[in-house]
Symmetry: C2
Subunit: 136 residues, 2 copies
DNA sequence: CCGTATCCTTGCGGATACTG
DNA sequence: CAGTATCCGCAAGGATACGG
């Protein structure tokens, strides 16, 4: 079984089965298409708006703003702006943000380490499937 | 930067900035609306189709099947079926699945532990925002 | 530069009906 | 019991244009 705590293995995560729970609120941002790239990028240090836009392939300005605002609202990212012209806005992880970036980074690291197995599993499964149709 | 993986470094996650990468393939399933509940539930042990459907509040049969098939294809979940009537199909985590469930569980646990701070941050932010409009 | 507002397409996801 | 197939609503998300 799970190498974690024996009995309440599920424990703290139990509430995720409800349709709405506080964890969901953030998890939805964390797990959104762009939340992860933004956070990972900001782990390296503060970045300006256009830097994020350039670095994250395929993100639109709308999505970037939206993602940024959500993360700021969650207290995960801090926004610092000069009220002058030209505007200079930098984003960085808050303490809370660095906190979530840890477990998130671990998950990403695991995916990276095991991506070969995952892709292999997919290929194996796909081949089984196509051979299954030729069995008849 | 240090390409070393593990806690605290960006390292291996660099490829997520590309629009498509192997990690994405699974991350998209992991981060989908139903992937997490399914995996968390299966951490407790094997479960049958209808058990999952009952346990996961709000999931439709379509979404459950879809999620399950995706996870099976990823090699994260194993499907075991009796070819008789009535059909009896059980799903369980594979070795790979238990592997990803670890980091994922840690992330969930972190969210659980810090959800108060996150909600507090959201409320603080919302209040700042509403007071800002009344400053004038 | 740093966004926001608008339009429009895409496809996720729910409900239902049907098959093995 | 365990799915699959179909239809459809709706909201996320991309492209573009414009404001501060």
């Amino acid at each position: 079984m799970a190498p974690r705590s024996g009995k309440g293995t599920l424990g703290a995560a139990a509430e995720i089965f409800q349709r709405i729970c506080p964890g969901r609120l953030v998890l939805d941002h964390v797990s959104g298409r762009w939340g992860v790239p933004v956070m990972v990028l900001l782990r390296q240090g503060p970045a300006r708006y256009f830097e994020l836009r350039e670095a994250i392939d395929g993100v639109s300005e709308k999505m970037l703003s939206q993602t940024l605002r959500a993360l700021v609202r969650d207290g995960i990212v801090a926004r610092r702006a000069t009220s002058s012209i030209p505007p200079r806005v930098t984003y960085e992880l808050t303490e809370l943000g660095r906190g979530v970036a840890g477990p998130l980074g671990d998950l990403l690291a695991w995916l990276s380490e095991h991506q070969d197995e995952l892709v292999a599993a997919q290929r194996a499964h796909d081949e089984l499937e196509s051979s299954a149709s030729s069995v008849a």
